[in-house]
């Protein structure tokens, strides 16, 4: 085992993702003199290497890694990790990481600590703090030997490169492409862009059903805003996908975020926690949404929301 910390670079449509800069920040914070190595895949993107806050960038210049293909990345990373035997591999727990981290761990027989939100050294052990049960429980795990962690976006301070990393071009001995990217599709532009609205009344599963969505729309209208939603609501088709806030939706920073019937899964909080004023209404006093909200009320949204609208219009 070497002491190096290896970070898998995620790039989408020609851009290094924020989550990757955070993974490099996490690596820097625990490196303690060890080399931070970033692995960058893709044939025509050498330019991205300068953006990476690593000591060394391994550039796997292969056209099959231009876009994320689960199979191609897994096979390429497998051989690189096996050959270098780093102390720790850091992958962001994004769409890419939720596939790649566990796949690599299984193929290489390495322990994986997923949903990691904190990393520290305790002697020679690395201690990963992980978020489980929808953010209601924290698990601390000790990593004594080579391991993989997948880190939750938004949990570590990002680190950006100054172009000083040594760039080394390497080949991956075997890249398979049993699943291939055909095309990316950008969501059609929606009637409303929730990232540009200053007031969002955001609807969660606690609203009960699509028949109650108008209650939220009336409140939003009274506040001069629009409705947004958590993932279960758009998955159920109660509101369109373009209104979804969170990890698989949009990140919003409105002046007012009024969360109604949203418990606050980590994936949701990630997309709205930087809103200027957060007010939450939920029946569960232990709901994680209250940890990020400025004001909260434990109540049935079906009763409270119309009462709010009535007063605002009254």
């Amino acid at each position: 085992m070497s002491a190096e910390i290896l970070v898998v670079v995620e790039h989408l449509q020609g851009k290094v993702t924020d989550a990757t800069h955070e993974a490099l920040g996490a690596a820097r914070a625990i490196a303690a003199g060890a080399e931070v190595v970033a692995v960058l895949g893709g044939a025509a993107n050498t330019g991205l290497a300068a953006e990476l806050a690593a000591d060394r960038v391994l550039h796997v210049a292969d056209v099959r890694l231009d876009a994320y293909s689960p199979d191609a990345y897994e096979s390429a990373m497998r051989s690189i990790v096996a050959a270098r035997s780093p102390r720790l591999v850091i992958v962001a727990n994004t769409t890419v990481g939720m596939d790649l981290a566990a796949g690599l761990a299984a193929l290489l027989g390495l322990p994986l600590a997923a949903y990691c939100v904190g990393l520290r050294a305790d002697g020679t052990t690395l201690v990963a703090t992980c978020q489980i049960y929808g953010g209601k429980v924290i698990a601390e795990v000790g990593l004594d030997g080579p391991a993989i962690v997948s880190i939750v976006p938004g949990s570590f301070v990002a680190s950006h490169g100054d172009g000083s990393a040594v760039v080394e071009t390497v080949a991956a001995p075997q890249i398979t492409t049993r699943l291939r990217l055909v095309a990316y599709e950008v969501a059609p532009s929606a009637d409303v862009d929730i990232t540009k609205e200053s007031v969002l009344v955001s609807v969660g599963r606690g609203i009960g059903g699509p028949e109650n969505v108008p209650l939220a729309e009336e409140l939003a209208a009274a506040l001069g805003g629009v409705v947004s939603a958590s993932r279960p609501v758009t998955d159920s088709g109660w509101l369109p996908k373009s209104r979804q806030v969170g990890k698989s939706g949009l990140t919003v920073r409105p002046k007012l975020y009024l969360a109604i019937g949203i418990s606050g899964a980590p994936e949701h909080l990630q997309g709205m926690k930087d809103s200027e004023l957060i007010v939450a209404i939920n029946t569960d006093p232990g709901a994680p949404i209250f940890d990020v909200a400025h004001f909260g009320a434990v109540a049935d949204v079906i009763e409270l929301v119309p009462a709010l609208t009535e007063r605002l219009l009254g």
Binding site: L12, A67, S69, P70, T94, T95, M98, D99, A101, A102, G103, A105, A106, L107, G109, P111, L112, A114, V127, I132, Y133, G134, G135, K136, V137, I138, A139, E140, V141, D144, R178, L179, R180, V182, A183, Y184, E185, V186, A187, V199, A222, L223, G224, D235, G237, S242, G249, L250, K255, L256, I278, V279, F290, D291, V292, H294, F295, A297, L304, A307
Partner: protein
């Protein structure tokens, strides 16, 4: 064509979760279990593919307290077979569980394996890539659309990225997919049909050997997160709450009367 769906019982996280005195596990005595919600989407997607292409659907779940009920419900919803996978001894790690499921899948030789994108307790990684890698099959997670071509034995999938970006992927079967959302909301299983499934005696059981070696994660402790902040809670009747919250909003210039 055969689709296997992996179902998992998980603690209902809507309930209050208590941590055991030794800090190693949840207090399990009064814990209520339910089907992992994303597995319900995987099941629905499998049943939609069944009605489109006439594929056989087999549900599998690792043995556990409420697993019979979960498998009976899957039968009531329309799966052709339901298999409870046991063996391996207790307690078993999530990694060991994934290897056991892979072992149970091997003789079934499914063309497609579906499961939920994640579960609330998958501290050791998500199931789809763990099982895919164990079987040597390609896998993709965060999938929200699956189209099968039975003749060509190919699959087209859509994989969801943040900000509404979607990747279209394709490849040869078999593959293992972690489902984020199904094309239709999960169907409801009428109680009478669940009862029929329970009395049908058709729930199958298979026992697999304990995996020789699964990397174990050294759990130090479980804890409640230390909240860095907490909302200022307003209390009282619905009328009081409405008055207080509207005052809070108006003080900050929201919803001001014009």
């Amino acid at each position: 064509m055969r689709i296997a769906v992996l179902l998992k019982q998980v603690p209902d996280i809507v309930e209050e979760l208590e941590i055991a005195a030794d800090g190693r596990d949840l207090v399990r005595d009064d814990l209520r279990y339910r089907l992992n919600e994303f597995d319900d989407y995987a099941l629905e997607e499998a049943l939609q593919l069944k009605s489109a292409a006439g594929t056989e659907v087999v549900a599998l779940a690792l043995d556990g307290d409420d697993v019979d009920q979960i498998l009976y419900t899957a039968m009531a919803k329309g799966v052709d077979r339901a298999i409870k996978v046991s063996g391996g001894g207790e307690p078993r790690s999530a990694r060991a569980g994934a290897l056991m499921l892979a072992e149970a899948l091997r003789p079934l030789a499914p063309d497609l394996v579906l499961t939920g994108v994640q579960a609330p307790d998958d501290l050791e990684g998500q199931l789809a890539p763990l099982v895919g890698a164990a079987l040597g099959l390609p896998h993709a997670n965060v999938v929200n659309g699956v189209t099968l071509d039975a003749g060509a034995r190919t699959v087209k999938i859509t994989q969801e990225f943040s900000g509404g970006l979607v990747a279209h992927l394709e490849g040869q079967l078999p593959v293992v997919l972690g489902i984020q959302a199904s094309c239709e909301p999960p169907r409801y299983a009428p109680v009478t049909r669940v009862r029929q499934a329970m009395s049908s005696g058709k729930l199958e059981s298979v026992s697999v050997a304990a995996p020789a070696r699964a990397p174990a994660l050294a759990l130090r402790r479980l804890a409640k997160p230390e909240a860095t902040g907490h909302a200022e809670m307003v209390g009282g009747s619905v009328e009081d709450l409405a008055d207080r919250l509207v005052a809070v909003l108006r003080e900050r210039g929201f919803g001001a009367k014009s």
